[in-house]
Assembly symmetry: C2
Homo-oligomer: 341 residues x 2
């Protein structure tokens, strides 16, 4: 019987020192090869690489961080109300983009869920040199209580922060313009009573999308008072739609500030025996999974969320590396026409 695996427990993790010994060079040289320093003899470098390969050596992150005074990791700050946030396709998609970008760097992604009860814990973790930067995704949560750390730690936000936007780094979607275009779809098709289910008015996306809707209905000379606000959840969208319908005034179209609320609106519209789009046209915003899981499929605003996440990570890494980078980047959107209008 041939033993293909050494007995005696798991093989010890190879160290730089072992590589040095095998290659017959000093640790310094191995280190140089690992960090591909230019000043190392090509031949020597080769033999070192061979030794690395042979031992399946991987640098110890902790030791490296300690020596370089650099964590090589970035934090993903998640507001405590996690249950909401994880149910939000926007959030998960941004994270996907972030994760994908970071995979190609040697930064590690640290998820830290920020307890609102003891913010100092999070604070000192972030400032304690455990991460080199932080990403904040709170699009639909409004939690921007971390903006003040921007001065002490590289930080990038998903969406313009409500306060401190003057010097914060962020990447954002062109909410207002897109909302306006989406609403124009409705005005252009002859709808005359165009309502909106707005997002919370203390969050930039909520504010901006409402503004976009208002611009469009006004320029069409229509009533701009048909607004009810929700909180971006499906249930709140349903309630808002109810209130809209209960006003007793005709409504023949509705622009929802996100797809989840649009889906909520669907349930009450169809629940009352009204047809989409014949009786009421509806358009959403985000083009997330809700848009296609609903019948009829929802016409909505698509924005490249994965790209947004990717860009956030890229910006952060650039900041950390000291490379120049844009403080704010605006992602453009597109209308995706389906069957709800």
């Amino acid at each position: 019987m041939i033993m293909t695996q050494r007995a005696g427990g798991p093989r010890p993790v190879p160290t730089l020192e072992m590589v040095a010994a095998l290659a017959g060079v000093s640790r310094a040289t191995v280190s140089r090869v690992v960090n591909d320093s230019p000043s190392v003899d090509p031949e020597l470098a080769q033999s070192v690489r061979k030794a690395i390969e042979a031992l399946d050596y991987t640098p110890n992150r902790a030791a490296r961080s300690l020596a370089k005074r650099r964590a090589n990791s970035v934090a993903l700050i998640i507001p405590e109300s996690t249950s909401k946030v994880f149910a939000d396709p926007f959030f998960t998609t941004v994270v996907q983009g972030i994760a994908m970008y970071l995979t190609d760097t040697d930064f590690t992604l640290n998820m830290v869920i920020a307890s609102e009860a003891k913010p100092e814990k999070t604070r000192s973790f972030l400032l304690g040199g455990n991460v080199d930067g932080a990403l904040v995704v709170s699009h639909h949560s409004g939690d921007h209580s971390w903006t003040h750390l921007s001065g002490s730690l590289p930080m990038v936000f998903a969406g313009r922060p409500l306060v401190g936007a003057e010097d914060a780094y962020y990447v954002e979607v062109e909410n207002e313009a897109a909302a306006c275009s989406a609403t124009r779809l409705l005005t252009a098709s002859g709808r005359r009573s165009i309502a909106t289910i707005a997002g919370p008015q203390d969050m930039p996306p909520g504010i901006d999308r409402l503004a976009g809707w208002r611009t469009a209905v006004r320029e069409a000379g229509l009533d701009d008072q048909l607004v009810e606000v929700g909180d971006f959840t499906l249930a709140s969208g349903a309630r808002a739609m109810q209130r809209l319908l209960d006003r007793g005034r005709p409504v023949d179209a509705v622009f929802a500030a996100n797809d989840q609320m649009a889906a909520g609106a669907y349930t009450v519209i169809q629940g009352r025996g009204l047809r989409i789009p014949e009786d009421i046209a509806v358009v959403g915003f985000d083009d997330d999974s809700f848009a296609t899981s609903v019948t009829p499929a929802l016409t909505t605003v698509n924005h490249p969320i994965v790209e947004l996440g990717r860009k956030m990570a890229e910006t952060l890494v650039d900041m950390i590396e000291g490379r120049p980078t844009d403080r704010v980047t605006i992602m453009s959107t597109s209308l995706v026409l389906r069957d709800s209008v």
Copy 2:
């Protein structure tokens, strides 16, 4: 004007040494306090704690890891087909549970997306002492190519792995029993042509849920050939439903192996002018966001996914800490009755 903040750039990160100096003790003592060692004078401990507070000291993770030869972090392995995985509410919810549990420990969550192109990279990262354990969530992806590392690194799987289940640690949902109960809902209400949209037959959830359905239809003396398989995506559910309807045989009920596929089925059922549940009753599995975003709301199987994630993390931490822990945990489910049956 009172200066509340020192000028001269960011305050240097406080070290254990500085705390020791301020408290007038040795670094060893501070270290003991930090790791709350029992053998330290309560009074002294207090003054040390005061110093820690005053300096806002946080232990440097890298240094600590290096000294303890422990990363204090666990990896969350994500299959490369990330786009699919992030769109899967099951995945994100499990992650939520994991994150929530870890927040209360001092383990950090490392998201590593496993490139299938160069698995050695992931392998040596995992085995290189950079993490103390790994969590793999591939419920709907079937990627269990990491089972073989179980011997070298504490690992916990979400869902029974297809291979190596004999010694793998995992936490799983009682898929078969739940699928059976769900289907009985249909047989009990008098449906006679009960189809199923099954999941992939190379994934345990796909296999087990189909088995559960089969048990129920057989015990009711019904045809057990009305099965089409999908891949857990909405689109595949729609296609499967189409095939089912195109068989030319009447179908008055369908059990979908997950809610997304059920939602897909909705689109074609309603697209053909059939009513749910009058013409066709449908029941899903998972009770995710799709279940309530659809009209009529979907009757489905609820399982505590957050808890599943939490349990995974707990199991892994126990393994790492050397505490005894159950190798396999089965989470129980419940039926949630809504309007689709």
